[in-house]
């Protein structure tokens, strides 16, 4: 099992990816948020390369390339454009205070490590950090979407959730079949683009981009 030699490295990389989520939480400026998203994308790309190297699975290199281009390149670029257009010089606003958010995120990480241990026992051929880290990312992504006020941050939350699922995919089974993986990349890319377009349009119609204005439709 050549894999064993790389376990340490891979697990370390996964922990770094999880750490970037906390970078997003503490960032108070949009530029820093986008920087954290880029770092997360790059780390995921490196993780793919490491796994490809360890397992000799050439599909991982394709996944790495796509990750770097889409998640560390195009998506941050679109986000950056949207920020410059609608929210430049604005601080990230949240409903909870920073301390509470941090505490909450820690609880989420703790819960997911606890829960996944019960669902999938050790030694099932998977990298043991991947699944709990992935579920933490999904939960924290959801938490970010609820707690942060700008639509752009909801897009960031979505990207974090998707990165979490991607991490779960490569960590547990070296990714889904390539066609499916390609389709998912396309969906997330087109999705972020369309959300970007909507952010522009909302900003134009409402003269602001605060989600509290989006509360007309009820009942």
């Amino acid at each position: 099992m050549e894999m064993q030699n790389y376990q340490g490295l891979v697990n370390f990389l996964i922990e770094l990816v999880l750490a970037t989520v906390f970078l997003i939480i503490i960032a108070r400026r949009f530029n820093n948020v986008i920087m954290a998203v880029i770092i997360q994308g790059v780390l995921l790309g490196v993780l793919c390369i490491a796994l490809g190297w360890a397992t000799g699975n050439y599909e991982m290199y394709i996944a790495a390339l796509l990750t770097l281009v889409v998640k560390a390149g195009i998506i941050p670029f679109v986000l950056n454009k949207a920020v410059h257009k609608v929210a430049i010089n604005r601080a990230v606003e949240s409903f909870l205070s920073l301390k509470l958010m941090f505490l909450f995120a820690f609880c989420l990480v703790f819960t997911s490590y606890l829960a996944t241990g019960q669902v999938i026992g050790n030694g099932s051929g998977l990298i043991h950090e991947a699944l709990p880290a992935a579920i933490s990312m999904m939960l924290i992504g959801l938490f970010l979407m609820i707690n942060l006020k700008f639509p752009i941050m909801q897009i960031v939350g979505l990207v974090v959730i998707e990165n979490g699922i991607f991490l779960a995919g490569i960590g547990t089974t070296h990714g889904m079949p390539l066609v499916v993986e390609l389709g998912i990349f396309m969906d997330i890319l087109v999705g972020v683009l369309i959300m970007g377009v909507l952010v522009f349009q909302i900003n134009r119609s409402f003269d602001t981009i605060d989600t509290k204005n989006l509360r007309n439709l009820r009942g």
């Binding site: 999938i120 699922i165 089974t173 909507l198 007309n216």
Partner: protein, 487 residues
């Protein structure tokens, strides 16, 4: 053949991009949709003659997919026909400029393409990609009017549905993880293979996968409590698009749940997944009730009724007996046809009265000699009054529930849909009867759209008293998919 079916909407979408003349666009879309219907019917004929259509390892069309495929194609054609007059009216009163019409058609046919892809795909992963694609294709259509409310609806739609459906991706991943050691990389998400090897998969993982898939795709179906995007999107989208969202998109999403259900019930027995679907169905019907009773907006009324009817279909699939499944898919056909024509009617009404508020719409029978009576018929039909088609399928579903001895659940549903009936008929009669406001002129806006509404109501009336032999046969074949036949 299946490749032609997939290529047609893409070709129409690309052609639409290159044309900016409104009339030419309408012609392309109608001719294209008609060809699509023809292709879909040819495929369906082959499938219902007894052999699944298979292409390579990516496309499998069985009776279940073929039925919904035909629904998508037929309602797509009706929407294409209705859109011409609807868009012309909106351009005339300056809702949007003529140059944007091509985007309407572009996204509409991308939407049709993604639905087809979800239905024909043999791979559950690609099915997920396609269902997420439907959200992306329709987001800008929901916000097409570019007003505050429609943009709000579009934003809620894309965010709620994407987050919801991302759970289904996680469910798909768990299924892949459970299967990959048994089937190998290539067959791990192929639903035919999965059904064959289902007994050898880890039941714990399958349970988790199904829960995630149900919540994820259930968001798209509009099952409560994940339904909150649905009334907003349906009420703010242009009416032909609402017809398509309600008439067929919900069915496509439901189809995805059924595919997971079939795999999981093969391994865990029918109880686990059926009961979950049943619970979500009952909750959906219950949640729709208060909103239908107090509704003030005609299109939201129809949207909540869609939640109710998807709930009824879910309940029927949850019951799972042969009779219930027969009722479920008959109900799916009936609901798709009735609801899409009701959205056409709502489109006519709101364009004529310049409002969607039920309180400000009065005396339809007097002002609109075709749309008014059509609203009465369609409204009574969707509420479940005899002798219309929806009554028949609801009756079949409820009687199958009683036949299984599930008295409590079935009675609860019976009470709920009776209450919904009263609320719906009350709202409809408020609009149809009374004296029309003086500002509204008497007469219909377009003959073409009216003819279409009348045509689409024909099966609604006919299926209530007589179900043609070929429909009977199709439904029988669809129910055999559930017991593992038709492979």
């Amino acid at each position: 053949m299946p490749l032609i079916l997939l290529a047609l909407p893409l070709v129409i979408a690309l052609l639409s991009m290159m044309v900016s003349n409104r009339r030419l666009l309408g012609a392309i879309s109608i001719v294209g949709s008609a060809t699509t219907v023809l292709t879909a019917l040819l495929i369906a004929r082959q499938v219902f003659a007894g052999s699944s259509v298979v292409w390579g390892q990516f496309i499998v069309i069985d009776a279940l997919s073929a039925l919904i495929l035909c629904l998508v194609a037929i309602i797509g054609l009706m929407v294409a026909l209705y859109s011409v007059g609807y868009l012309a009216h909106d351009i005339r009163i300056g809702e949007f400029s003529e140059s944007r019409v091509k985007w309407y058609y572009f996204w509409m046919y991308i939407f049709v393409f993604t639905m087809f892809l979800a239905l024909v795909s043999a791979n559950l992963g690609i099915m997920w990609v396609a269902v997420e694609g439907t959200t992306l294709a329709t987001a800008l259509l929901v916000g097409f009017y570019n007003k505050k409310n429609s943009l709000e609806a579009a934003w809620k739609y894309i965010i709620i549905c994407t987050v919801g459906i991302i759970f289904a991706l996680f469910g798909t991943l768990l299924l892949h993880y459970a299967a990959v050691s048994v089937t190998g990389e290539s067959g791990s998400l192929d639903w035919q293979t999965l059904r064959q090897v289902a007994e050898r998969l880890d039941p714990m993982l399958l349970k988790l996968a199904f829960i995630f898939a149900l919540v994820g795709f259930g968001t798209k179906v509009g099952l409560a409590p994940m339904h909150t995007w649905l009334p907003d999107a349906h009420s703010q989208a242009p009416s032909p698009i609402s017809a398509m969202l309600s008439g067929v998109l919900l069915n496509c999403a439901f189809y995805s749940i059924v595919r997971f259900h079939l795999v999981v019930s093969e391994s865990l027995g029918p109880q686990f997944s059926s009961n979950l679907i049943l619970i979500f169905g009952v909750v959906s019907i219950a949640v729709a009730l208060p909103f239908i009773l107090i509704q003030h907006d005609i299109k939201r009324l129809l949207a909540y009724s869609s939640i109710e009817h998807m709930g009824i279909i879910a309940v029927a699939v949850g019951f799972g007996s042969k009779l219930a499944l027969y009722g479920a898919f008959l109900h799916m056909i009936n609901h798709a046809l009735t609801k899409s024509s009701l959205f056409f009617i709502a489109g006519n009404v709101s364009q004529h009265y310049h409002t969607k508020r039920i309180l400000r719409i009065k005396g339809l029978l007097k002002t609109m000699p075709v749309t008014g009576p059509a609203l009465m018929i369609g409204g009574l039909a969707i509420a479940g009054a005899p002798p219309f088609s929806i009554f028949t399928s609801e009756f079949i579903i409820l009687s199958s529930g009683f036949a299984q001895g599930r008295y409590a659940v079935t009675s609860l549903i019976l009470i709920l849909i009776t209450l919904i009936f009263t609320g719906f008929v009350y709202a409809i009669s408020k609009m149809a009867l009374g004296t029309p406001p003086t500002r509204v002129k008497v007469g219909e806006d377009g003959k073409f759209g009216n003819a279409l509404i009348l045509i689409s109501l024909v099966p609604v009336v006919v299926f209530g008293v007589y179900i043609p032999g070929f429909i009977e046969d199709i439904l029988q074949q669809v129910t055999t998919v559930f017991i593992g036949g038709n492979q």
